[in-house]
Symmetry: C2
Subunit: 197 residues, 2 copies
Amino acid sequence: MMSRNPADTRTRILETAWKLLESGDKAVRMSDIAKGAGISRQALYLHFPNRAELLIAVTRHIDSVNDVDTRLAPSRAATRGVERLETFIAAWGGYIPQIHGISVALRAMQGDPEAAAAWDDRMQAVRHGCAAAIRALATDGDLREDLTEEAATDLLWVLLSVENWERLVRDCGWSQDAYLREVTALAHHALLAQSRS
Amino acid sequence: MMSRNPADTRTRILETAWKLLESGDKAVRMSDIAKGAGISRQALYLHFPNRAELLIAVTRHIDSVNDVDTRLAPSRAATRGVERLETFIAAWGGYIPQIHGISVALRAMQGDPEAAAAWDDRMQAVRHGCAAAIRALATDGDLREDLTEEAATDLLWVLLSVENWERLVRDCGWSQDAYLREVTALAHHALLAQSRS
DNA sequence: TGTCAACTTTACACTGTGTCAAGTTGATGC
DNA sequence: GCATCAACTTGACACAGTGTAAAGTTGACA
């Protein structure tokens, strides 16, 4: 028993789970994570009460590793609405690949109310970002006239969903660059009063 | 034992499963379907080899009840590209509510390769419809110049995904009418060379 | 009357999650 | 040096849901 530091073990579990989820191919059972982290399956339950909590902890771990606030800083700093929209799409769209694996696992646990709530919270956070961008657009008078701010927020939020990223990048074989480019262009055409390329 | 006709029992199973999936609230186990159809759980396996095959049979049943070909006739009959796009969105978008329940169940069975393949097939069929509409647009010269036919097909396909419908109608509380209206408008702005309302 | 097909009941194997209890082991304090 | 404690181990078990197997019931039909 080399490393007996509980914090070490915890992060090793989280990193292992992240890696396994990211690789995506399989189902990722508790025993897989335990084996990957080099501990017994039961030891997982010394660190996390159940699978849902473990997955939720993984998302928080990914967030802290990636420093979400820093990623979003350019968007918050943007002065013009269009700029804010573009930087937000770049920030969130660039973050999706990181959380894609955990997203699949969490959505597959629809049965568990805790897991559902955790994923829902994250999506609501994204929605707030969308709302802020749309509000900035509206303030500049750049929002398409026949769209409510509410409706525009919903549309942008849906457009930027992880599922859409999965479809385009994984199913359609788009590169991450192509995804960002086309989604940004689509948002322009769909949301702005007059589209400027 | 009143109705001993196997075909009757089969359709009763399919209708029951459809109804239960549509209601959406719960997990819909084999025993739920059996109870709903008024037979024993084991009798299900006299009609379907496993859960995946049953779910697939439900989708086929829904298709036959709803007569998909008739729904798509207006789209195929459309002469101009824009008209074809609009009628296709109306047809498919109007069909989504019917298959929404089974869609959730089938996607939740990602583990099962048969279920995955079945859902994939259906999505590819939708994609073909998207491709036909895009091709018609391109032929008319109405497609946005900076879009490949391929890319435009991908975008339309993603836009019309069941997941996006779920988000907008279920999560955001849009009416089916609002969904069809806004999605059609979005497709116009996103895909057409110059948007005409 | 006998046979067959649809269906029933009971029982069990398998997988994956989560719980419980009784060890083992290494660091730390005294 | 010795006890203690926390992290971890092994092994067993309950539970849910799917799928399999086997033996019995029942109604239709020839």
